[in-house]
Symmetry: C2
Subunit: 516 residues, 2 copies
Amino acid sequence: MSMVKNSLGRLVPTEVNGRSVRPFMGAHADAGGGMRYGGSIPAAARYGNKLLADLDAAIDACEIRDGMVISFHHHLRNGDYLVNLVMDKLAARGLKDLVLAPSALFPTHGRLAEYIESEVISHIEGSMNGPIGRACSLGKMKKSAILRSHGGRYRAIQDGDLHIDVAFIAAPCADPHGNANGVNGPSACGPLGFALADSLFADKVVVVTDHLVDFPCHPWSIEGGNVDFVVRIDSIGDPNQIVSGTTQITRSPTRLLIAEYAARFVKESGIMTDPHFSFQAGAGGVSLAFVKYMSDLMREAGVAADFVRGGSTKYMVGMLENGLTRYILDGQSFDLDGVRSLRDNPCHIETNPFVSYDYHTKGCFAQLLKVSVLGATEIDLDYNVNVNTHSDGWLLHGIGGFTDAADAEVTMITAPLVRSRLPIVLDSVTTVTAPGEMIDVVVTEHGIAINPRRQDLLDRLKGSTLPLKTIEELRDIAARMSGVPEKPQFTDRVVAVIEFRDGTIIDAVRELVPPE
Amino acid sequence: MSMVKNSLGRLVPTEVNGRSVRPFMGAHADAGGGMRYGGSIPAAARYGNKLLADLDAAIDACEIRDGMVISFHHHLRNGDYLVNLVMDKLAARGLKDLVLAPSALFPTHGRLAEYIESEVISHIEGSMNGPIGRACSLGKMKKSAILRSHGGRYRAIQDGDLHIDVAFIAAPCADPHGNANGVNGPSACGPLGFALADSLFADKVVVVTDHLVDFPCHPWSIEGGNVDFVVRIDSIGDPNQIVSGTTQITRSPTRLLIAEYAARFVKESGIMTDPHFSFQAGAGGVSLAFVKYMSDLMREAGVAADFVRGGSTKYMVGMLENGLTRYILDGQSFDLDGVRSLRDNPCHIETNPFVSYDYHTKGCFAQLLKVSVLGATEIDLDYNVNVNTHSDGWLLHGIGGFTDAADAEVTMITAPLVRSRLPIVLDSVTTVTAPGEMIDVVVTEHGIAINPRRQDLLDRLKGSTLPLKTIEELRDIAARMSGVPEKPQFTDRVVAVIEFRDGTIIDAVRELVPPE
């Protein structure tokens, strides 16, 4: 495997699973060029009754063979049944070397690790969590895993870097033509945007629903004109598990303090009262607390955001219903209030990674966003951020929308300075997910560091009572609290690459030598 | 120019303007294959402020050169200002040999005939009406015009047969990112679906609006991620002319009788009370009357349609509001009631030619439709239909959605048997727009002919009191009423081709030798 240093000095391969790749050259260096993948041309007359009896009939109809790329979306989150259902059937058929291309996996999919061991799955292109990530770290995948952000996944599919043979789309509501949405039916999960690229570009598209309605199913987040087959099964997911585990505001005083600092930072920077305020925050306990603090500050100041970006939660829905934002632009629902609001409130708008995150567009929402509040496992002195591996070397997380959302005007990392007795700020991150040039502020309970590239923010915060520090000071405080952890031991083998949103390789993850 | 006979026996070219084309082989013979046009890959970082000062700045930014393909949509109908505004500026710049690719033209665009004479415009790919069609008939275009149906236009763009250099999209409402819709603002015209393919596949996309709103403009029928530039001008159209001229039910007893026969045919065939009834009718006086009669029959029988397909009119809106249909699936608004309903009623749904009409999809709405009611200029004994030329040889009409909507389960032509002293049913049509195999019923005031291919309909109508006749009988009645008109004289030169929805050539239009 030929390796090259990218612009961050990381040694990355020039070829991944036989495909040539370019090294990362800067967050905005890629200038596009070339042609998107068009997809094959079907003929409408070949499509009559698309309804098939069951999943087996769909697998037969798709003529799945060894080595094919099979994709899924993750809107049903930890409640998803479909990935396991389909992969069990493909394994039972004796298929080998499949490439799994989900938009994300969850703990409920942990048993896929067995299919990696048994080579039913050769590798994963998408995100990896928990046991799947551990299997990858231990070198169990035959080929290199490829981790992509949500926007990067859309880009890879549209550009033809990731060619999907068969997409299985779990659909809470669908009609026999294949029109589908996520807002109606017993398994309603909110948006279906993560499946959009799959529907547009996969050779075969199977919509699987437990709530079949008469044509036309509307809204049609997935359009029947892109769908080959429709299958009804008893249940596509467990509605109680569909929502995120973390839907309560943290009670940890440390995390509440971090969230409060972050909200105050936004206010004191003046961004909150700029015209066209907007922000994005996720579903973790800190993020939820940030939304609440931010709401309080906005209410006091009498300002409303033009929009807030989900994942949506009841706290964001509260902002919409109380006039603190004109719109929610929602890529995924993290709780049932989000699902209900998306279904019922015309100002709660479904989005997808094309409009929100895709770098190979004529602009996307991420770059229109004022403030993005994101988490991390490590941050280094160059402000490079790691969200994939832990300091002990295990690959345990996908990228999610991190690298995409980091394109906001002000990107803030919120994290406790020490977590599980490991420092979060350190000299150099184990793996670079996003380059420091995209990261503007690091907020911890022990202080807030502003990236020196952002002199404008340093100027705006002059005289603030917030505990401003340098990143080196944060590193030192963390080191004093936890000591400097031992470095993990890796072999030379690249088990996964971290693909930047433009398709370049920002870092490689190597096989871990597990500690004794 | 090499010519070949297609499956209807029409002599058609094998090459049009240097591009190889296939002869028509049957309505459903095309099996797809090959790849769609992907479009070029942009980079989001290259897109910041898209707002330009005026149209000239946009023309500069698009670097328009001689020979480029320039496109427009026609949702503003006869009220459109933009086509003339832009073409005047391109002509004033001395540009030559431009290809005009509108989804349709209207009488207000008649002065473009001058630009054809002066070779600013080399030819038109799209539809042609009135003076433009006359210029084409007289051989004034340097190259062959290409007429396509709405679905055929989408197909040609997605497949790369029609590559658009610059698309100008008149947008009644837009934001600075380029998100746009047709339902808000002083020039609201309803859907913007005819511009969808242009936005997705053109090299440069310019959104031109007279109603600029803060981001996010929603609904976003046109997505900002596909838009290069946004321009605000004083007015994109005359709201009083945006709606169709024909929005009143005909008072002609002949036409009322035709509409009544058509509605009774639908009822007596049993289709109306089949599960999942649906129909499509246009905006002409007969069509409006058909909708009214159909509504009466449905109300009496206590049945509701699953959906009706627009162009929407106040009569269709009445059906929705009175529970006679669950949905309107609307491709264009023909009156302001249609615009209002689309904006306010969640069961009035905007569609576009991809979902509705495109043959190179995995199925489209046209083939899900039960009944389609369409007009024609000529029908022959093989049930072939002409909607483009008149019996005197002049090319005066575009295809509209004719060939696409003719894919319904039952396609009915409604027409007076004689019009302007010319018979409508005759031995052979001047030009074939759609093959007889797609046409099931011809309804005239003197009788109704069922295509012998439809034995099922002949069986269902047995014993009906409707005046059933053979097509030959209708031809004879017409001939007795009007005489057989003299055939027009043509040269051998092909001035236009009629492209079928699958991209094959169904007929050629030749240069007319105008009568003395």
